[in-house]
């Protein structure tokens, strides 16, 4: 994988992000940045806007005001490069039920422009303990298995910036240990990571914690 041999130095930066809906101000003037090898945790109570913030960073939602930018090897990323630089795991992002686990990995890694390597895909499925289910349609997977598949797809695409919304959701103890290993490995390989979580233990993985509070402001430490 090219990205391992020559790691791309990436930074995602957000300045003065405000988000409001017609009947609600969610947050104002949120600032922060994450660079390769760093991890930022977005925490806060339910409804404080953590998932919304992650969606804004992934460009799945447009912020009311403010700016989000990505630099790759110190150059501003174009729209196409921005999309290619991000990988995401979230409860509201699913894969295709009518495809097998292996086909989903093949589809999404190739959509990222990566040449498909069957052996690597099977190794990743092995790692997340889904090898024996590689050829089964994902509609037969349990919720936890689907979550593991998301991790395998993300590892296969291996983008420089990982956006993770509740990444430990639905996982058993073994799955949580596995994900912790994958996160540590990703940080060691200079991936920039943003985690949105309610769990204080998960937030401890991050060097920087950004806490969104319901009043529409935020606290950084």
């Amino acid at each position: 994988m090219d990205s391992i041999t020559t790691p791309i130095m990436a930074q995602i930066k957000f300045n003065n992000i405000c988000m409001s809906f017609p009947d609600k101000l969610l947050f104002t003037n949120v600032n922060g940045s994450v660079s390769s090898g760093e991890c930022l945790a977005l925490t806060g109570p339910n409804g404080s806007g953590k998932s919304t913030m992650i969606k804004i960073l992934a460009r799945l939602l447009r912020q009311s005001s403010g700016e989000v930018s990505i630099t790759l090897n110190a150059k501003n990323a174009s729209d196409t490069a921005y999309r290619s630089a991000i990988g995401m795991i979230a409860p509201y992002l699913e894969y295709y039920n009518m495809l097998t686990g292996l086909e989903n990995i093949a589809l999404f890694s190739q959509l990222r422009g990566k040449a498909y390597c069957g052996r690597q895909a099977l190794n990743l499925l092995d790692k997340v303990d889904l090898r024996s289910n590689a050829d089964r349609l994902t509609q037969t997977y349990s919720t936890g298995m689907k979550q593991r598949l998301k991790w395998a797809v993300l590892a296969m695409a291996d983008p420089p910036i990982w956006l993770l919304d509740e990444p430990f959701a639905y996982l058993d103890d073994y799955g949580r240990t596995l994900v912790l290993e994958m996160l540590t490995d990703a940080q060691n390989r200079q991936r920039a990571i943003v985690i949105a979580t309610n769990d204080a233990k998960e937030a401890k993985l991050a060097q920087t914690v950004l806490t969104l509070v319901k009043s529409g402001t935020f606290i950084a430490r």
Partner: protein, 222 residues
């Protein structure tokens, strides 16, 4: 040994393969459109009790069936993705133009198959006699392509709205009116053996290209 249908460097081809493999495995859109088409043709045939139909009536009936078959099946292309939470995943992994283009091609192929089947059913149940096959084929192809493009664009809009399916047919009809009027007239000409009006063929080509261009341009902001 792992069979892999999805092997390409082109996002459009990958997404097309995904559409066909998924449709082959659940056969939802095909079944809905097929059932609608067969039931409508047989119902009309029974109610008319073998009465001879004029070329104008045959032409109008043919396009009404194709239009409502399209409305029954094609609106799902985006709403299913939205309901299954796969549309956002796709948006993370590839550009919206590739998504919409693959869906246009898939819808065109699907509708073309249904149009061919409807024509065969018409030939079996009615006295459909085509006198100008070239014009007839070109009209079906251009009409179906235009319908697929408009339906895909509207499906992408409707997926973001509530009451998706009702909205889909309502917003499609006025947009497809110029196309339906033109294809109906050209089909009648092909059945009667009257020479084609070249301006109408150009209008169809222009309509298809214009809607396709608008779709590709605006899809980034949908």
């Amino acid at each position: 040994m792992h069979r892999l249908f999805l092997h390409s460097s082109s996002p459009v081809l990958l997404l097309l393969a995904k559409e066909f493999v998924s449709e082959y495995r659940n056969r939802y859109a095909c079944s809905v459109i097929l059932a609608f088409s067969v039931i409508t043709v047989t119902s009309i045939s029974i109610s008319l009790a073998n009465s001879a139909l004029s070329e104008e009536t045959e032409s109008v009936l043919l396009w009404i069936i194709i239009f409502f078959s399209a409305m029954a099946g094609l609106g799902r292309v985006y709403s299913t993705e939205k309901d299954n939470n796969t549309l956002s995943t796709l948006r993370i992994y590839c550009c919206p133009q590739a998504i919409v283009f693959s869906k246009i091609v898939f819808n065109t192929v699907l509708l073309l198959g249904i149009a061919c089947l409807t024509v065969l059913l018409f030939a079996a149940f009615f006295t459909l006699r085509v006198k100008d096959w070239v014009l007839f084929t070109v009209t079906i192809w251009l009409g179906v392509s235009g319908m697929a493009v408009v339906s895909t664009l509207m499906a992408s809009l409707a997926a973001e709205a509530r009451g998706t399916h009702a909205l889909f047919t309502v917003i499609n009809f006025p947009l497809l009116m110029p196309l339906l009027l033109t294809v109906t007239d050209l089909t009648t000409r092909s059945l009667q053996g009257v020479p084609a009006d070249f301006d109408q063929v150009c209008l169809l080509i222009g309509f298809d290209l214009m809607i396709a261009a608008v779709t590709i341009l605006v899809v980034e902001w949908l």
